[in-house]
Symmetry: C2
Subunit: 439 residues, 2 copies
């Protein structure tokens, strides 16, 4: 009997695997253009890290974490998101004391949430993201949002809309939470059990409730914008003016509160509508955090970050036909041994071409020559090297250009030289016709 993959996980193969790597590398390049450096945190962290940062009132901590005891009876969790681990890394390695601020990092890798499996949503999924930590300033918020927008633009995603909101500073949120408690208090009895504990732990989380009856009640709740302190309002307005100056399209969404407890001030999501008008929801999201670094044992400084879902990006890019022509999996050379010949010789030819830097494969199966040509075609190979008994005897091979079908015999000791000359000529030809096309 065969064993399947774990429910909610997925295998990444073929064009999807190539696309994931292409997307991740592109995002990485742009992050580095903006001065962000790669860091890697472990997949596993002590559970306490997420309880303390993402928060006891969040759905992520309450319901969605893969948590278990290791053989030493310590509670371990597969990271449900990256920010907490990145801040833990920054604090533990004392990076804020030794680096220019803000400390700017990027990351990529798998994260895990035990959610109800849905189309295009996985329990093990991949995220790319950044964190800029150590200075509280609207300019850095703007930089991070410009970075995210540049990333999506460079993937050729038009119609990206940034939904943005502010959760205000501590004073604003304190007043707002009180207002929410006052508002929900008379309804609470009818509301779901989760909302009861949200009411106690963090009434902001009630705004994320998925129960339809509760959502009706939420509609009438007070808005954060009416509880912002003067400072919080000024900072948000200044950020918006910076985004205007940088021509970043955004829309203020005062229902946006993000489901993790550590957020404060600026929060945002990237929404995408495909060419065909399909609304894909959020491709990613981010926000500012005031207390997280201190909460995890670091200095009293703030940070801001965002993450993008690689599965999400792949799915919209594929649906909109934006991945075509971006990567070249083609073979340079396909080596075809005819019949029961000396495999030592064939292997040496193949290996020599690979070591010379040509993407080369050889046919290992005992199939007919016509079949081998079909395979070479499927792999889009430029050249075939044909080796039969006759060739081995004379120490030569047949080189066939699979585009022009021209073929010639070549002594084995001149093979690399000949192939390399042919490849160069071809590159020049392509360049020439490119120049002609471009006028």
């Amino acid at each position: 009997m065969s064993i399947k993959n774990v429910k909610g996980t997925h295998d990444i193969i073929g064009e999807e695997a190539t696309s994931f790597t292409y997307i991740e590398n592109l995002l990485k390049q742009i992050a580095e253009l903006f001065g962000y450096q790669e860091v890697r945190t472990p997949v596993i962290e002590y559970s306490e890290l997420f309880v303390r940062s993402v928060g006891e009132s969040s759905d992520v901590v309450r319901k969605e974490m893969y948590t278990f005891l290791d053989k030493g009876e310590r509670s371990i969790t597969l990271r449900p998101e990256f920010t907490a681990g990145i801040i833990r890394l920054i604090v533990q390695n004392k990076l804020l004391a030794t680096s220019e601020l803000p400390l700017k990092t990027h990351y990529v890798g798998p994260a895990f949430r035990y959610e109800r499996p849905q189309l295009g949503r996985y329990r093990e999924f991949n995220q790319f993201g950044v964190e800029a930590v150590g200075i509280n300033s609207a300019e850095i918020d703007a930089e991070v949002i410009v970075l995210s927008y540049t990333m999506l633009q460079s993937l050729n995603l038009e119609n990206v809309l940034i939904k943005i909101n502010t959760l205000g500073d501590e004073e604003s949120r304190h007043n707002y939470k009180n207002a929410l408690k006052q508002y929900f208090s008379p309804y609470l009895e009818k509301m779901c059990p989760d909302c009861h504990s949200r009411y106690e732990l963090n009434p902001l989380r009630i705004l994320d409730c998925k129960v339809p009856e509760d959502q009706e009640i939420v509609k009438g709740a007070p808005k954060i914008k009416d509880y912002l302190s003067k400072n919080a309002k000024e900072k948000f307005d200044y950020l918006l003016s910076l985004l205007d100056g940088l021509e970043i399209p955004y829309e203020i969404d005062d229902t946006l509160v993000r489901g993790l407890d550590y957020y404060s001030e600026t929060v945002f999501e990237f929404h995408y509508t495909s060419r065909s008008g399909k609304d894909y929801g959020a491709l990613g999201a981010g926000g500012h955090y005031d207390k997280l670094v201190k909460e995890l044992g670091g200095p009293d400084v703030s940070g801001i970050g965002f993450s993008l879902g690689i599965e999400r990006l792949y799915s919209v890019l594929k649906d909109d036909g934006l991945l075509e022509g971006y990567f070249d999996n083609d073979l340079d050379i396909y080596v075809m041994p005819i019949g029961q010949i000396d495999k030592q010789f064939v292997l040496q030819v193949t290996t020599g071409l690979r070591l010379a830097g040509y993407r080369t494969d050889q046919c290992f199966e005992d199939v007919k020559l016509t079949n081998m040509f079909k395979r070479a075609e499927r792999k889009n190979a430029k050249y075939a090297i044909i080796i039969g008994e006759n060739e081995i005897e004379k120490h030569e091979v047949i080189i066939k250009n699979l585009r022009t079908t021209e073929q010639e015999t070549c002594p084995i000791d001149q093979l690399i030289e000949t192939i390399s000359r042919k490849m160069n000529e071809e590159d020049l030809d392509e360049e020439f016709s490119q120049n002609v096309k471009e006028g």
Copy 2:
């Protein structure tokens, strides 16, 4: 109080992070030169997968797996190695039916083993590897070994020794296991409890026992080479002749049995001795498997693969000084705002340079100009852009070449053009002096 990383895991930052990515990308490129394609399996798999493949008698399954029940009460394991998951992926996605054989894949990512933490050994570690599945032939074994050797060579690791052995075919192993049982039987009473169950489940595993007293007994045990069937011996000798023809250095090590149950026939390890003579042990290992694909529900075909430890590779490359000069984290441009000026303007300059493709950073902290120059120097920036009140008023910036210390004033609307001309000239200069050097 601050929370630390989980015992046995490690954070990867700074030069180490850049090196990991460099190493992984290089290995990936070479794998693709050899016609191997990337696949990604989930980190989590059903525990049954590893019990059935890696085997109940292996230390990995018996002692080292991170295994837990998910919220649906299914037993889940963090992959302790990749081969089982890759074969599960190949079988489940029916790739053998739709691809040319052998199906050639490469992979990279984290794996998890609850081992005693030791210097340079982690419980969460990273591996790069390949699997070639679907045809049993010495030529493919040779290809895989050449690939591994080419990878290590391209990392400039000299003094790599391939230790190789054969575990023979089923008939050979059957006879050998009987011989082992006969040999160990009189000693068994004195041996460790683990060896007792190894004796029952798979006496080959006794050869891996780490208990010193048991190791003494193991020294006198029969050798697999004396129990090889005619076929197994012929195949191994032919493989060695292929490796000779390809000038791959190897050493037959008849104590090499590899600790996972699925191996059969060819097994190998890559040993490295540093320039200073330090023995690093195995950088990676691999082997052939006859029954694994069928055991996991696929057709009755064999495969062969190997994996390399990224942590191990990084540590030897670093110790031997082989990572220097391989990557460029340098900044192109550092933007320096003087005093309390309009940050909107500064942010637009920085963003414009980034969108033009220059790795640019700006100083966000309120520090003195001399301090900013020190920072630019630390980041090895080529140019500084200096912006004061005066420049903003006149819509210009100061461009300073940090190598020559030449500086000039430039209207803001000509900035990109000017920088791009300067960068091109510098590239040409470098090329010129390179040509002069090379004669």
